[in-house]
C-alpha cells in the first residue's frame, strides 16, 4: 500500500517534469524554461561559474534568517508567557494580536524598508514579524493545554514553580510549542526571502530578481531550485530538532 503511494508520487513528479519539457520546447524555451535547460544552468551555478559570489549571498540570507528567528523566538516566548500566565492581560491583548493576524503581513514591508533601509535590517525585521506570531500563539495554546489537576497534584507533592514548569507544564505543552516554533521558523524563512525579492542589494532573493531582470531565465530557475533546497534543508533540520526535543522532554 505504502509502496503503491510512493510509486504514484514518483510517477506524478516525473510526469510533470516530462510534460513541462515537451510543452516548453513546443513554445518559447526562453520563457517556459524546459528542465533540460535548467540542469546545465544548475551545474554552472553550483560550480560558481554563473554567480561566483553565490556563497556570500547564501551566507547573508542564512544570517538574516538566523537573527530574525532568534528575535522571533525570544520575543515570542516572552510575550506568549506574559499573556498566557497572566490571564487578565491575555484577555485584553490576545484579541488585539488576533485582529492583526487578519492583516496580510506584506503591507508592513514598505514601512520596514523606509525605517530600516534596503539592507539586511529590513529583511530581519520582516522575518521576525512573520515568525513571532506562531510562537506567541503556540505558547498561548500550550498554556491552555496544561491540566490544572496535574499542576495541583505536583504542588501537593511539594514541587516548586521551577519543578512544576519542567515536570508538568513543559511536557504537556511541548508538542504545541515545538509545532509553533517550527511554523515560526518556516514563516521567518519566507519573510526573509520575500523581503529580499521585493527590494534588496544582496542575498539569494536579490540574485533571483537580478537573474530575472536580465532575462537569464535558466539561471533564475537554478537559483530558485537552490533556494528551495535550502528552505527544505532548514525545515528538515527543524523537524529533526523537534523530534529530539519530544524524545528528551516528553
Amino acid at each position: 500500500m505504502i509502496g503503491r503511494v510512493l510509486a504514484a508520487r514518483a510517477a506524478l513528479g516525473l510526469g510533470v517534469v516530462l510534460a513541462w519539457e515537451v510543452a516548453a520546447r513546443a513554445r518559447d524555451p526562453l520563457l517556459y524554461i524546459p528542465p533540460s535547460r535548467v540542469l546545465p544552468a544548475l551545474a554552472r551555478l553550483l560550480l560558481l561559474r554563473s554567480f561566483p559570489l553565490l556563497p556570500e549571498h547564501v551566507w547573508l540570507t542564512l544570517r538574516e534568517i538566523l537573527v530574525a528567528y532568534a528575535l522571533a523566538v525570544g520575543v515570542g516566548l516572552a510575550v506568549g508567557a506574559v499573556l498566557g500566565l497572566r490571564p487578565t492581560l491575555g484577555r485584553v491583548y490576545a484579541p488585539l494580536l488576533g485582529a492583526l493576524y487578519a492583516v496580510p503581513s506584506v503591507v508592513w514591508y514598505p514601512s520596514l524598508m523606509l525605517l530600516f533601509g534596503l539592507g539586511a535590517a529590513s529583511k530581519i525585521a520582516f522575518g521576525f514579524l512573520l515568525g513571532v506570531y506562531p510562537v506567541v500563539l503556540a505558547v498561548l495554546a500550550g498554556v491552555r493545554q496544561v491540566s490544572r489537576e496535574l499542576v495541583t497534584v505536583a504542588r501537593a507533592f511539594g514541587a516548586g514553580p521551577g519543578r512544576v514548569f519542567r515536570t508538568v507544564m513543559l511536557p504537556s505543552m511541548l508538542s504545541t510549542l515545538t509545532g509553533g516554533l517550527r511554523a515560526g521558523l518556516a514563516l521567518t524563512v519566507v519573510g526573509v526571502i520575500v523581503g529580499e525579492v521585493l527590494g534588496s542589494t544582496a542575498g539569494l532573493g536579490y540574485l533571483i530578481t537580478y537573474a530575472y531582470g536580465l532575462l537569464r531565465t535558466a539561471d533564475y530557475v537554478a537559483l530558485v531550485l537552490v533556494t528551495l533546497a535550502i528552505v527544505l534543508a532548514i525545515d528538515a533540520a527543524a523537524g529533526l530538532a523537534e523530534r529530539r526535543a519530544r524524545r528528551r522532554w516528553a
Binding site: R4, V5, A8, R9, L12, G13, L31, Y32, I33, R91, V92, Y93, P95, L96, A99, L100, Y101, A102, V103, P104, S105, V106, V107, W108, Y109, P110, S111, M113, L114, L115, A186, V189, V190, I193, V194, V197, L198, G199, G205, I208, T209, Y212, L215, T217, Y220, V221, V224, T227, L228, V231, L232, D235
Partner: protein
C-alpha cells in the same frame, strides 16, 4: 465590556506616547511621523488611494472566489479518496509551505503586469490553505455519521449533500477566513513586485519617496479594510455555525 475599554485605553495610550515622542523629537519624524501627521496625510491621499484600494480589493476578491471555488471542489474530491490524498499530500503541503514568491518573477514574465498575474498569484496563495483545510475536513468527518447514513439507506449523493457537506462547513468557514488574507497578500505582493496598479504599488511608491506620513496612513487603511473584511466573514460564519 471592560475588556473593550481596556483595549481602547491601551491603543489610545500607545498613540499618545507615540505622539509625545514624535513632538519631543525622541524619534526622527522623517521616519516615524506623529499620529496627527499620519491622520492629516490620510486626509490628503485618501482621494487618490481609494481607487487603488478598490482595484486591489476587487482583484483579491476574484482570486479569493477562485481559491474557495477550486479549493472546496478539489478538496471534496481529494478528501473522499484516501489513495489520491496520500499521493498528493507532500506536493500540496510543499505548495502551501514553500515561499511562493520564488515563482512570482516567472508568473510576471509570462503574464505581464496587468490584473491577470495578480489574480493568478493571489489564487496561488489562497488556494492551498483552503484545499488543505477542506481535505482535512472531509477526512475528519465523524465515521459514525457516515455509517448511520449508510444504515438508513443514504445514496452516494445523499451522503455528500446531507452529511459530508454540512459536516465540513466549519472547515470551509475557517478556510474562507484564511483564504481572504492570503488572496489579499498575494495581490499586494504582485503590486509591489511588478508595479501593478493598486495599493501595493502605492505603498512601495511612498516608501521609495520617503513619504512616511502617507505610507503609514495607507498601511493603516489597508489593515483596517482587511480587519473589516475578516469581521464580516466572522459574522457570516457565526450565523452558519449556530448548531455548534
Amino acid at each position: 465590556m471592560t475588556i473593550r475599554a481596556l483595549q481602547a485605553a491601551s491603543v489610545g495610550a500607545a498613540l499618545l506616547l507615540w505622539e509625545g515622542a514624535a513632538r519631543a523629537r525622541l524619534v526622527d519624524p522623517l521616519f516615524v511621523p506623529a499620529p496627527t501627521a499620519v491622520a492629516a496625510a490620510l486626509g490628503q491621499v485618501l482621494g487618490e488611494a481609494l481607487p487603488a484600494l478598490g482595484r486591489t480589493v476587487a482583484t483579491a476578491f476574484v482570486a479569493y472566489a477562485l481559491s474557495v471555488g477550486l479549493g472546496v471542489g478539489l478538496g471534496l474530491v481529494i478528501g473522499a479518496r484516501r489513495f489520491l490524498g496520500d499521493v498528493l499530500s507532500p506536493f500540496l503541503l510543499a505548495a502551501y509551505g514553500l515561499p511562493k514568491i520564488l515563482v512570482l518573477p516567472w508568473i510576471v514574465l509570462i503574464l505581464g503586469t496587468g490584473a491577470t498575474p495578480a489574480v493568478v498569484y493571489g489564487t496561488l496563495h489562497g488556494l492551498f490553505p483552503v484545499l488543505l483545510l477542506v481535505i482535512g475536513g472531509v477526512r475528519d468527518v465523524d465515521r459514525s455519521l457516515i455509517t448511520t447514513a449508510r444504515a438508513f439507506g443514504a445514496r452516494p449523493w445523499q451522503l455528500y449533500s446531507r452529511v459530508i457537506l454540512p459536516a465540513i462547513v466549519p472547515a470551509v468557514l475557517a478556510a474562507m477566513r484564511l483564504g481572504i488574507v492570503f488572496a489579499l497578500l498575494g495581490v499586494l505582493v504582485v503590486e509591489m513586485f511588478a508595479g501593478v496598479r493598486g495599493m501595493g504599488f502605492e505603498l512601495s511608491a511612498f516608501a521609495n519617496a520617503f513619504q512616511a506620513p502617507e505610507l503609514f496612513a495607507l498601511t493603516l487603511l489597508v489593515s483596517a479594510v482587511a480587519i473589516a473584511i475578516g469581521l464580516v466573514l466572522d459574522g457570516l460564519g457565526e450565523r452558519l455555525n449556530r448548531w455548534r
